[in-house]
Symmetry: C2
Subunit: 196 residues, 2 copies
């Protein structure tokens, strides 16, 4: 299997590619972590200590409300980042959970290490800015859709935009991500498949 760090460095090639020095700094300041299915990278009440890059597997980030119902905020597949940025930067306890939906391999960068990378190698500032801008734009569009479209339209859009997730992730979690109950999602699916 390929070296996880190679995968991460290749990922940065999509932005401003890293040079040798930066690659080495990144290698030294990050660590590989393996999670088994249903393992937690973060639990409510803890400070989110790692900015995590998914090398392999699938994770979800969610909040649990007073009634114990979970609300999925984000999924992360291979080559995606997952972190509670608020908790991570403020070093305050998080209200979120990050859980592996499959056995997963992630690369973790801790707070002090990321600060080091930011200040010693400004390219990281740039790259992480662009990465989060992209995520921000996606989240804005999702917010708009949440307010402007029906559950059926949101689900159709999700399946179209994220076929890999639709195939790998249980419907319960997709329902929660879309903001509907699993029962209703089930009805939606049976309706649309009957349409064909």
């Amino acid at each position: 299997m390929i070296d996880p760090h190679e995968i991460l460095c290749t990922h940065f090639d999509r932005y401003l590619a890293l040079d040798e020095v930066e690659r080495n700094a990144l290698r030294e300041r990050s660590s590989v972590r393996r999670l088994k299915k249903r393992g937690f990278l973060l639990q409510e009440g803890e400070v989110c200590k790692s900015y995590a890059f998914v090398v392999e597997g699938c994770l979800r980030m969610y909040e649990m409300d007073e009634k114990g119902v979970e609300h999925n905020l984000q999924f992360a597949l291979e080559n995606e980042w997952i972190v509670d940025i608020g908790s991570f930067h403020a070093e305050k306890p998080s209200s979120l959970f990050i859980e592996a939906l499959e056995p997963s391999t992630v690369i973790c960068i801790e707070h002090a290490d990321l600060l080091y990378l930011y200040t010693e190698h400004p390219k990281f500032d740039r790259n992480f800015r662009v990465i989060i801008e992209d995520q921000f734009v996606e989240l804005q569009q999702r917010m708009l859709r949440r307010n402007a479209s029906s559950a059926e339209q949101r689900h159709a859009h999700f399946v179209e935009q994220h076929p890999a997730l639709a195939a790998r992730v249980p419907n319960v979690h997709i329902a929660s991500y879309l903001g509907v109950t699993p029962e209703f999602l089930s009805r939606l699916k049976s309706k649309t498949s009957k349409g064909r």
Copy 2:
């Protein structure tokens, strides 16, 4: 009245404060623009050309759906930023509108100028990264609330967190921002005020 650029520079003091050189560069690479009530900073189909900082006034960013219904995505008051980042960076046509709800004064930074600032003065990369991270965290929380709370709870939270907006902005726009109809928001308000 105070120089708008002063206000912008002061705003950056909340992050990594700018030195003389950076302040001058910023002044040279930005421009002040005044909008009258109902004036547009961006209209659907145009490329979003300015990263805008509100010096005075109040703006909203929204999308219009096929039926002509508007969906508010964001408000911006004094000392806040407003831009369709997706359109701005990709230099692609936007699907959004940015409209002044009051006579407003904004400072605009155009695409080429911001790139210049980013590359010549890395502190801007840093500061804009932090600014957008903060906005991202807020948007995540809003998304969670949208899926986890009732309209009544969301409205109560909005009034509590944004009293200035609740006072300055017509209810139609707040309703759209919260994802409910103006009629229903009106009922919510009359219910809660009767509670006292």
